[in-house]
Symmetry: C2
């Protein structure tokens, strides 16, 4: 009861008075092993709860059947949901998954990458931190022949790589177009941080939707913010106050930002609140708890993005052939109505 002897093939072999390889073969159903012997071995293995040691296996087959995921933050439902898509498919195909959070900190991201390197993962799926401009820690993987999929966040600096991203352009086009079709002539766009490429992709969707409906673009209907509440309030002041013609609809970069904006307008008793319609990116689950939810959400389908990422990754892992062309997969967004 006190000093545990680990249950290994060797241990089983000694107990059964056969050789180690007989035990191994029996457990792996080798046809050359006597049925009775197999029975004895399997019986004893079950009784003692034998489980093959993964480290030993990895060492032997030179493969870990493990893939790594690095992402900024599990508190962000976008990423948490993406894991669901990855995990499902990975497990079905015999792969395990190690998740690491960088907390949007480059140093943590580098540490995680090195840890995963030591663990000899077979491939990596990563949503880079917002400060990742140097890719040395990730290039190590490619140099070793380990495939990387960049997903969820666009590594603008790192052009030649596999990417799986939400089609944020299409999502923003769809939302803007939807608002126009509902009769809005004055649709505003509230963008996110300007360093993030998605901010500009979405802007393109916005402006193309306007163009396609022959609505003239008006610079004063566009403002930018980040995840700081005060900055969002300022942007909203710009867009909605001290002007003759405030917008009648708004498309926002992220629902977190949108909710700050809506709360600000409502608590300041913005008089045209009831005639103004709002759409943001995210489709967060707690929208059901809001007394006055936005008109709709742009659902980015993170699960599907995750699934696309893992599918591509496993293809690259299996394909021991020469590296295939770099892929860029875009996952379409949908509009989800709340009212």
């Amino acid at each position: 009861m006190s000093t545990k002897t680990p249950v290994t093939l060797k241990f089983l072999a000694q107990k059964l008075k056969v050789s180690i390889s007989t035990v191994s073969k029996a457990l792996n159903d080798y046809p050359t092993i006597n049925a009775y012997t197999k029975e004895r071995v399997k019986q004893m293995a079950a009784e003692l709860h034998f489980t093959p040691n993964k480290s030993a296996l990895n060492l032997q087959i030179q493969k870990s059947y493990t893939i790594g995921i690095i992402l900024p933050d599990l508190m962000d439902h976008y990423f948490t949901r993406s894991i669901f898509g990855i995990e499902q498919y990975a497990r079905q195909h015999g792969y395990n998954v190690i998740i690491g959070q960088s907390y949007d900190d480059l140093k943590k991201e580098v540490d995680l990458a090195n840890m995963l390197l030591k663990s000899r993962i077979d491939g990596l799926i990563i949503a880079i931190s917002k400060n990742t401009e140097n890719f040395d820690h990730l290039d190590l993987f490619e140099n070793l022949g380990l495939p990387i999929i960049y997903y969820g966040r666009n590594p603008s600096f790192n052009l030649s790589c596999h990417k799986v991203l939400s089609n944020t352009y299409q999502g923003c086009y769809k939302a803007t177009d939807f608002l126009i079709k509902r009769g809005h002539k004055r649709v505003a766009y509230l963008g996110g941080p300007k360093m993030i490429s998605f901010t500009h992709d979405r802007f393109k969707g916005y402006i193309n939707a306007l163009n396609d409906s022959n609505i003239p673009f008006e610079a004063s209907l566009v403002a930018y913010t980040d995840f700081d509440q005060a900055n969002t309030h300022n942007a909203i002041k710009e867009l909605f106050y001290n002007r003759e013609n405030p917008p009648t609809a708004l498309v926002a970069f992220k629902e977190q930002i949108l909710f700050d904006a809506m709360k600000y307008l409502r608590s300041n008793k913005y008089e045209k609140m009831d005639q103004t319609e709002f759409i943001g990116f995210g489709n967060m689950p707690f929208i059901r708890y809001l007394d006055n939810p936005p008109l709709a959400s742009i659902e980015e389908n993170p699960e599907s993005m995750g699934e696309n990422a893992i599918k591509l990754l496993l293809k690259l892992i299996d394909q021991k052939t020469e590296a295939i062309e770099y892929q860029e997969i875009m996952v379409d967004c949908e509009l989800v109505l709340h009212q």
Copy 2:
């Protein structure tokens, strides 16, 4: 560029024309190795980006420096936040962390446990699924001498084990007492599923707070629900409608439930809404987006719970001595005001 030779000690040794053990010792700063040799070896190792193979190390030292976490769902901020506490402390002490989601499904939980067993983790921290009544898959760990900490969810059926839990009794007492001190004579309690022990622990806190203030208990001020919206609406009808003296304050099992309740009352224009005060368990981050937030939240401090769990686990791992007494750690809750 095409057929990668893995960078191992052997590979380095061949390149440098020294023995494998010299390389190993040089990299590990053995005092017996010539300074110049060390330099040469380290130089080459850095150049070729050598990283020791974790599987080989694990095999050799019979320890993985990895701990497993099994929890129901990363979409639940309570668990996601608990990871933060675990990760920080674990990494500081040289341990890695593997996270697995059971999605509250016993079969998935068993699969995860077996996977972690194969991976030869050094210990496990688990929040059991709501269906976990049989503990065979977890007893395997204890039989192997691997410590388990049950956390976040109370395994009522499995008495002799280490537990780290939120002190839900104390939290509910505090909230109820706070409401009483604010002048409320009629405080209601909306409990969660009756199978969950926390439901009853919280009830005890509620009723003890009443007693300590000499407020008579009234059965009609207590109702139960689960995470289904319709059931919550029914419970709220019971508590607030068709009666002379509805409660003037409510303590709810979980904020998800509380928000459903508040939205229901508000959208039905419950006339005394403005004089009624609400408190729920959770302190969810999106409360800042609500136009009418509850009075306060009971903050369960999941990070601290995670940290307590990992601290105890590492103590048990290091302590190769005979198993110490089973511990039950309670993490106190705090009241966080929103108005």
